[in-house]
């Protein structure tokens, strides 16, 4: 009885906090959707791993793969070398599986679709036609699409709720589906590539992900095919106390090309939520992959309460000669970010590029950067990192450039710029450089600057308010990276820059 009373009091307090946060915060995607959800019990153990595997109707080999990963994970320790500080995460106090109930039976028309699910997509800025397809409305695929096509896979909490344009993509031999579908329908491809770029034992979070990943996207581009449209995945953490562990696998076969976009949002919660994704990209000879992310998870409130803990392992393996990968990321959200999209430049003359904007405001912490591992001859890499800190935030660029003995005549260029807004925030640059042959060249440039009062006054004299002025100056600072994004994302990213810096001045 006493316990129950306590719970009620606590809930009352929490509700107040939630409401207060909602009022003061400016996080644009901070609504949550009250959809009937189906949960697995809290915590993680072999039974939960089996349950997830079972829910996804996976074959035995996959279940075994997961269980082996779980076994490993129990023997691993959480890494602590990053410049981020957060309360200890109780991995048994999380839900590892949640999905909307309406998924159990697909709707026939838009009227039957859970209107809240539709509203969610609308707020995420996904066009109506795609909304219908995502909601699983039969026949929506045959409607004419306006403008440029973007195929979307939407991952709502633990599950992919739909993928658009699958039929049209199939005509080109492109496979774009949820990873759970790929495990069922294309086991030969999944078996061949899964875990080959990020091994099961890679790191604490990747190993956990290998055990409990619930869904994610799968892409296969066959030899010589230029993917006819942008592919994109929207990740949405909606359910409370639910970790999201998605797994993305992209394979660009010889001479193919694909541009892939990833967007992320989550509602405001006063409890921190865990996100530990793994992205693996395999790029064969002469193939090219562009991977763009606009990450806008809830960053927590001004006092550092709530927000997403984002521990992500992203890695591209340029296996073939002359293969190419470009990572572009705009990181504006999350309370804690731990993320180093990496390039393994294995093929001769392969190229890796990394363009990053990381904005931290209030109490946010980001430790992000990249690893460029040069293994092949004549390989090239380029890193352009723009870190912006405001409030009491801490922003660290951590980058590794490694030239192996066989990576003759390879080159790296790194440019690392930090911008500070106010004097309570911090920016740190931690470059690791290893050169183990004498024909390779590594260049590193780093700058730190403050938003200049004269610039702000100039903008304000022309009529912009202080926040608008800061957003303009910061967008200018980030231009090299914004330019690397596909058009639609660049617009969204510019607005995000403005939104995430609100309240950073004055």
């Amino acid at each position: 009885m006493a316990a129950l009373d306590q719970t009620q009091v606590k809930e009352g307090v929490d509700q107040e906090t939630v409401d207060a946060v909602r009022e003061v915060s400016t996080y644009k995607y901070g609504w949550d959707t009250d959809i009937e959800m189906e949960y697995a019990p809290k915590g993680v153990n072999p039974d939960i791993v089996r349950l997830i595997s079972d829910k996804n109707e996976e074959p035995e080999w996959m279940t075994e793969w997961r269980l082996a990963a779980f076994e490993r994970w129990t023997k691993m320790d959480e890494p602590n070398w990053a410049m981020v500080h957060y309360p200890k995460i109780d991995f048994q106090d999380q839900y590892y599986y949640a999905r909307p109930k309406s998924m159990e039976e697909k709707p026939k028309s838009l009227d039957e679709v859970d209107p809240k699910l539709l509203a969610t997509y609308e707020k995420l800025g996904i066009p109506l036609k795609e909304q219908m397809i995502l909601a699983g409305v039969e026949g929506a695929e045959d409607m004419p699409a306006e403008g440029r096509k973007v195929a979307v896979d939407a991952v709502f909490d633990s599950v992919s709720v739909g993928t658009t344009f699958q039929d049209e993509l199939a005509k080109h031999g492109v496979i774009f589906c949820s990873i759970s579908e790929a495990i069922r329908e294309h086991p030969e491809l999944v078996k061949k590539y899964l875990g080959t770029v990020v091994p099961v034992s890679d790191n604490f979070y990747a190993t956990l992900n290998s055990a409990v990943f619930s869904d994610g996207s799968f892409v296969y581009i066959p030899p010589g095919v230029r993917c006819p449209m942008e592919l994109s995945t929207y990740f949405r953490i909606n359910a409370e106390n639910t970790g999201q562990f998605e797994r993305t696998l992209i394979i660009a076969d010889k001479g193919s090309y694909v541009s892939y976009l990833e967007g992320c949002t989550a509602p405001q919660r006063d409890t921190a939520q865990l996100h530990a994704a793994v992205v693996e990209i395999i790029i064969e000879e002469d193939a090219e992959v562009k991977y763009s992310t606009v990450q806008n998870w809830f960053p927590g409130d001004e006092n550092g309460k709530g927000g997403i803990y984002n521990f992500v392992t992203k890695r591209a393996d340029c296996r073939g000669d002359r293969s190419k990968v470009m990572w572009t990321q705009v990181e504006t959200g999350s309370a804690v970010t731990w993320k180093y999209p990496s390039c393994i430049l294995r093929g001769d003359e392969s190229q890796g590029e990394f363009y990053s904007i990381a904005i931290t405001n209030n109490m946010q912490q980001a430790d992000t950067g990249t690893k460029m591992v040069h293994l092949g001859k004549n390989t090239k890499s380029r890193i352009v990192s723009k870190g912006i800190s405001a409030g009491k935030a801490q922003n660290t660029y951590r980058g590794l450039v490694s030239m192996h003995p066989k990576a003759k005549d390879s080159r790296n260029y790194t440019q690392c710029d930090s911008l500070l807004i106010g004097d309570k925030c911090g920016a740190h640059t931690v470059p690791y450089i290893e050169v183990r042959n004498n024909s390779s060249r590594v260049e590193h440039e780093a700058t730190t600057s403050k938003v200049d009062d004269d610039q702000l006054f100039y903008c304000r004299q022309r009529g912009m308010d202080e926040e608008e002025a800061v957003a303009l100056v910061v967008n200018g600072f980030c231009k090299d990276v914004l330019q690397a994004l596909p058009m639609e994302f660049a617009m969204e990213a510019q607005q995000l820059v403005a939104i995430s810096l609100e309240g950073s001045v004055g």
Partner: protein, 251 residues
């Protein structure tokens, strides 16, 4: 239009009095010129009117059409119609000149409760105005003032002024560092904006500019005060004899 009364200004950080009782009224439709030796407080006056940080008004007032300017934020003053063509225009790396202009125009329209200018209307207007100032498409795309020559920067200030259509234009040494051709362009730009409803305060060292922009009134500023006011002939006197005679006379 602009009324400045007994304006006293000191630096916020130190006990240095810069303006020591400035009285000045600019009527709508008139061009007033301010001349004066270096360090007399001309730029400070323009900054205080437009709301730059770092100065403290210890006495006096400044109003635009009866509204207290000194109470407003810089952007509110801009929306109310105060424009300052900077002596040293500021560079903003990575921000296209056109983007900057459009953001500024729309910010002011929004502040005044007007609709934003459509992209098409904005482009049409900006191209026409840029053309008359000999600002080419390339300069409109380049980042604001970055790598601009002195002349380009000043012409760019006038373009902004033409787009924003302010009520009260303050030009701080817009002529300095300009060759004769560039100065003519700038003067033409200013003259094109002369209008019954608009006032000008033109700060300059040289008669040259005033040959092209005919002032109605000329003030001489020295040591934080307006020490002499007259017609266009006063500028000629400065040109011929320097400030020494005038300063000796008022002392």
């Amino acid at each position: 239009m602009l009324e400045i009364k007994n304006l006293h200004v000191k630096l916020e950080e130190e006990e240095k009095q810069i303006l020591k009782g400035v009285d000045l009224t600019v009527e709508a439709g008139k061009v007033h010129a301010i001349m004066g030796p270096n360090g007399s407080g001309k730029s400070t006056l323009s900054y205080v009117l437009s709301g730059r940080d770092g100065y403290e008004v210890t006495e006096g007032s400044a109003t635009l059409e009866g509204e207290d300017l000194l109470e407003m934020e810089p952007e509110e003053r801009a929306a109310a119609g105060v424009f300052l063509a900077f002596q040293y225009p500021v560079e903003i790396p990575g921000v296209g000149n056109m983007t900057f202009l459009r953001t500024a125009v729309n910010a002011q329209r929004k502040a005044r409760g007007e609709d934003e200018l459509s992209a098409a209307d904005f482009l049409k207007e900006v191209r026409a105005k840029a053309k008359s100032l000999k600002i080419d498409a390339d300069m409109l795309k380049r980042p604001v003032n970055v790598g601009f020559s002195g002349g380009e920067k000043k012409r760019n200030e006038i373009l902004q002024m033409a787009m924003l259509e302010p009520k009260m234009c303050i030009l701080d040494e817009t002529d300095s560092g300009l060759d004769v051709d560039a100065m003519k362009l700038v003067a033409e730009g200013v003259n094109a904006l002369r209008d019954e409803g608009r006032g000008f305060l033109v700060i300059t060292h040289y008669q040259r500019l005033l040959d092209h922009i005919k002032p109605d009134v000329v003030h001489i500023m020295a040591d934080g005060r307006i020490v002499k006011t007259g017609g266009p002939e006063l500028a000629l006197e400065v040109e011929n004899n320097g400030y020494a005679d005038i300063l000796a006379e008022v002392n």
